[in-house]
Amino acid sequence: MTDEMPLLSVTGAGHRYGERYGCRDVSFDLWPGEVLAVVGESGSGKSTLLGMLAQRLALDEGRIRYRTGRQNGGAGHDAAEELLDLSTLSEREVRQLWRTDWGFVHQNAADGLRMHVSAGGNVGEPLMANGWRNFGQIRAEAEEWLRRVEIPTDRMDDAPTLFSGGMRQRVQVARNLVFGPRLVFMDEPTSGLDVSVQARLLDLIRSLVSELGLAVVIVTHDLAVARLISHRTLVMKDGRVIESGLTDRVLDDPQAAYTQLLVSSILQG
């Protein structure tokens, strides 16, 4: 068993925009079932960090390693695993990881869904991409996942253009969980939604994450979101991590001056 190995190991990661660093010198380990919140205001570098982790931005410095046994020809997640440096993977291998291991929930549902394909089709697509060829089974599985994110069955043939913002996000969540990933990236998944809708969505995410033992990296500017669903928190400012630790500790007993400022701003709000 490989419990000593983290699922994701980041060392000194940095990304440059021209001469300026979007983020720099970020290091952390992420363990299975762990939810890590990355908080900061706009311009803090948190989105850049997420982009690098998700292989959308180039890693200009440092290393990102992911635990997988896939390259050893192993089926499933139980094959002999090692921490693989992601920069060594081919495009095909990275795309395969996105189909089997990783999910990404976008801030804007339109970026993460096919807006003119039905909800069922959206949730079924990862299955079809993974070789499922039985319509009845695909539909049943999609229906089940939509049920789990509280989308009624009689809406599963509607396209997301007909859904509210909260519903679209829930379809996105279902689409990203249907194929059983181990790690899900989330980019401000609740911003732009009404407060009550946000709360409901976060509750849903929290229970699914714990039920499925998922590891999550969630970027948010909202400390309350971090408080609600994450185990650990990284606080970023000007591209660097200025504080990290257990969420409760960071929010209840902030050490860095900036963190104290952030935390105290909420209490006044």
Binding site: G18, E19, R20, F135, G136, T153, D154, M156, D157
Partner: protein, 384 residues
């Protein structure tokens, strides 16, 4: 008894004859001869040469006559002919600065070395439809042969105010791919894009260029220089050991000066758009230069906001021979596929009526036994 219609060959032959008759028009009027078209419809001839990718004013004129004035038909004729020509090689790169231009203007400076030569242009004519055309007696323009006409963009480049027209020193000029000899694969190099634009449909490029001026993309262009004139074309013959001139062609060239770009590492510089077309073709050369610059957005890290910046969209739809062929092919028989669609739509309508006529409950389970084969029936209405 139904007998399938025959006689396609005869019908086609008759159609050809009728077309020729229409093309001749009234027998009372003299037939136009192609030298008249070549000389008196010069702008049109230029367009056919540019889009046909073949510099031969006489052939272009003949094509226009054969096509009864249909520009795209004429272009198609020229392209087909071009396919049959053997290819000897590639000329030496043409130098547009050497020969004095009959027409050369710049919007960026009031006056420039070599002067602003208006030449033969429509620009300042009053667009009043005239009863008769007059040919005034005008001496051929007095182009000062000895006075050089340096490129405005070279002048700007002296202080490095504008990006160089080639990469750093020591860059060897690689042979560009040839769009007419190699398959189109995206993404393209700038050289290949320029080839496609030079032979692209003038109307399409004009509209795209226009769109960039109206906020669909933002170029801030200035016409650095528009030149029209004849240049010598040279061919390097290995047997002789040096380049030999093989003739002169008329070209229109446009250099657009566009918004400057800079970064932390690099001082701001004006950027370029380039247009080069056969014959008298200012509108086309200018449009081409606008679209060229817009398509270079990746080099300058510009945001993509408009169709004019989409290389695949622009290049794939700029060839009017392809566009005309595909649009007009819709006139060809498609009845076999239409038959297939008829079959399907009839069967879907039967199912729809069965569901609603029988008062079936609105169930999400559409994939129950409502599938029927798509066979069609003659005569009487069928029931599901």
């Amino acid at each position: 008894m139904y007998v399938a219609v025959k006689g396609g060959e005869k019908a086609i032959a008759n159609a050809h004859a009728l077309l020729a008759k229409r093309g001749r028009g009234s027998a009372d009027a003299p037939r136009i001869d192609y030298p008249q078209i070549r000389d008196q419809l010069g702008v049109l001839v230029s367009r056919v040469m540019a889009e046909g990718s073949l510099y031969d004013p006489e052939l272009a004129a003949k094509a226009l006559l054969q096509a009864q004035g249909d520009v795209l038909e004429a272009v198609t004729l020229l392209r087909s002919y071009r396919t049959t020509l053997p290819r000897f090689g590639i000329t030496v790169a043409v130098d547009t600065v050497g020969l004095p231009s009959e027409r050369r203007v710049s919007a960026t400076f009031k006056d420039i070395p070599g002067g602003q030569q208006l030449g033969a242009t429509f620009d300042y004519t009053h667009r009043l439809l005239a009863e008769n055309l007059e040919t005034p007696d005008v001496a051929t323009p007095n182009v000062p042969v000895n006075e050089p006409m340096p490129r405005v963009t070279d002048l700007l480049g002296a202080d490095a105010l504008i990006e160089r027209d080639r990469p750093d020193e020591g860059w060897t000029d690689p042979d560009p791919g040839d769009l007419t000899r190699e398959p189109t694969v995206f993404p393209m190099s700038r050289a290949e894009r320029l080839q496609a634009l030079s032979r692209g449909d003038e109307g399409f490029l004009l509209s795209l260029g226009y769109s960039t001026q109206r906020g669909f993309g933002n170029n801030h262009p200035f016409a650095g220089e528009v030149r029209v004139g004849e240049v010598e074309v040279e061919f390097y013959a290995p047997e002789i050991g040096h380049a030999v001139p093989i003739g002169r062609i008329e070209l229109t060239e446009c250099q657009m000066v566009n918004q400057f770009v800079g970064s932390a590492d690099q001082a701001p510089q004006f950027t370029r758009g380039y247009g080069l077309v056969f014959g008298r073709a200012e509108r086309k050369a200018m449009s081409m230069s606008l679209v060229d610059r817009t398509l270079r957005h990746e080099e300058f890290g510009e945001r993509i906001v408009s169709p004019a910046q989409d290389e695949e969209f622009v290049i794939a739809h700029s060839d009017n021979v392809e566009a005309a062929g595909f649009v007009e092919h819709l006139k060809l028989p498609h009845y076999v596929d239409f038959q297939a669609e008829l079959g399907l739509i009839r069967s879907l309508r039967r199912e729809f009526q069965a569901r609603h006529g029988a008062g079936a409950s609105a169930s999400a389970n559409i994939n129950s036994d409502t599938r029927t084969d798509t066979g069609t029936k003659t005569g009487t209405e069928e029931n599901a």
